[in-house]
């Protein structure tokens, strides 16, 4: 507690200011933002490796007489299992930390939101997989909606039902429960990176390249890991100052 927070006398204004400072101190003790960000960042970068290892390029029949090239990448199990474990580990981390520090945790809404939205994303992914990936020229079956895979709206929905929904929106909830403006900014930045169209051939990487997913995972992964680093350093600085 710094001397600057000690009021010269006890007016109601100063009492409220003192209570505000106490509240901030409790919030600081409750926060452990760096941990979920570290897990999510590592998981996102791990997606690059999974995409590379599962890369398959097929030539399939299509209206074009020369045939069409179909690229398949990624595992339908990686994100549901990885994110599920990340949310579980985050809950355990916060509960253990709360016991050690002697102050309750507010992480439950974050974990429950994350798991619920992960279930939505996993169910969507399962639906698309079971109803078959669209062949060139065919519509994409998404919960019974037959969407044009090439349309910007479909691409936006595809981006939304990924990291934005399963990672970004829960981060907004975490920012709310931890009353952290810094995390709110980070979550908005993450959502922007996830939702903005990357464009084809981004950074000189062809869409048929085994590394085509590199920018799609590297950018949000870097945002999350840099956020984790920033929050860890801030927490360490606060710990030394206390």
């Amino acid at each position: 507690m710094t001397d600057a927070s000690v009021p010269a006398n006890g007016t109601p204004h100063e009492v409220l200011a003192g209570l505000g400072e106490l509240t901030r101190k409790v919030r600081a003790a409750q926060r452990g933002t760096w941990f979920p960000l570290l897990l999510l960042g590592a998981l996102t970068l791990g997606g690059i490796l999974v995409s590379r290892l599962t890369y398959r390029m097929l030539t399939v029949p299509c209206p074009d007489p020369g045939g069409c090239t179909l690229v398949r990448q990624g595992s339908p199990l990686y994100w549901p299992i990885g994110l599920g474990l990340a949310y579980l580990a985050t809950a355990v981390f916060y509960v253990r930390r709360a016991r050690r520090r002697g102050v309750g945790t507010a992480v439950r809404p974050y974990v429950l939101t994350g798991i619920a939205l992960l279930a939505v994303v996993a169910a969507t992914s399962l639906w698309v997989t079971r109803h078959g990936m669209p062949q060139p020229g065919e519509p994409l079956d998404l919960w019974g909606l037959h969407l044009d895979p090439a349309s910007p709206a479909t691409r936006f929905v595809a981006r939304l039902t990924g990291g934005a929904l399963a990672v970004g929106l829960p981060l907004l909830v975490l920012a709310r429960v931890e009353r952290s403006r810094a995390l709110l900014l980070l979550a908005v930045l993450y959502l922007a990176v996830e939702l903005l169209p990357p464009g084809t051939g981004w950074a000189g990487i062809a869409i048929t390249s085994p590394w085509a997913f590199l920018p799609q995972y590297a950018l949000p992964g870097a945002v999350l890991l840099l956020g984790a680093l920033g929050f860890a350093l801030a927490e360490r600085t606060r710990g030394r100052a206390a």
């Binding site: 507690m1 927070s5 000690v6 009021p7 006398n9 006890g10 109601p12 204004h13 100063e14 009492v15 409220l16 200011a17 003192g18 209570l19 400072e21 106490l22 509240t23 101190k25 409790v26 919030r27 003790a29 409750q30 709360a98 016991r99 520090r101 002697g102 102050v103 309750g104 945790t105 507010a106």
Partner: protein, 131 residues
């Protein structure tokens, strides 16, 4: 309250607005609850409100109190039904956790509202005219 506490939090210092005067019957100060308004107890309730569940040691450090002093205030709040105290063990360490009851939550909100009203009235009235 003892005088040998080296690092008191602002809320643990004595507050001058606890006494009620007959002439101030309609003044917000009359709505302040003495049990809640005492600054240590106000601090305890504030921490418990934010933390949901808080351990004795954390409170003692956060408020800069001695164990005996904090225990006395916790007893007052528990008897008033504003907090619930739960004793247990974590490993071989005895730990005391406390949570805010619904009555405690209401009392804290009412207290903060009265303090804000007091500030508002003070600012509306402005300084007293010079005699």
């Amino acid at each position: 309250m003892t005088n040998d506490q080296p690092a008191q939090h602002p809320v643990t210092a004595q507050h001058p607005v606890t006494a009620q005067h007959p002439a101030t019957a309609q003044h917000p100060v009359t709505a302040l609850d003495d049990v809640v308004h005492q600054r240590v107890r106000l601090g305890i309730l504030t921490v418990a409100h934010q933390a949901r569940r808080v351990e004795f040691g954390f409170l003692r450090t956060a408020l800069g109190l001695t164990a005996g002093n904090l225990s006395q205030h916790l007893t007052v709040l528990e008897k008033a039904g504003l907090i619930a105290v739960e004793k247990g063990y974590e490993g071989r360490r005895a730990r005391t956790w406390l949570t805010l009851t619904p009555d405690g939550d209401r009392a804290l909100r009412a207290e903060v509202a009265q303090l804000k009203r007091l500030i508002h009235e003070f600012e509306q009235e402005g300084p007293a005219p010079a005699s």
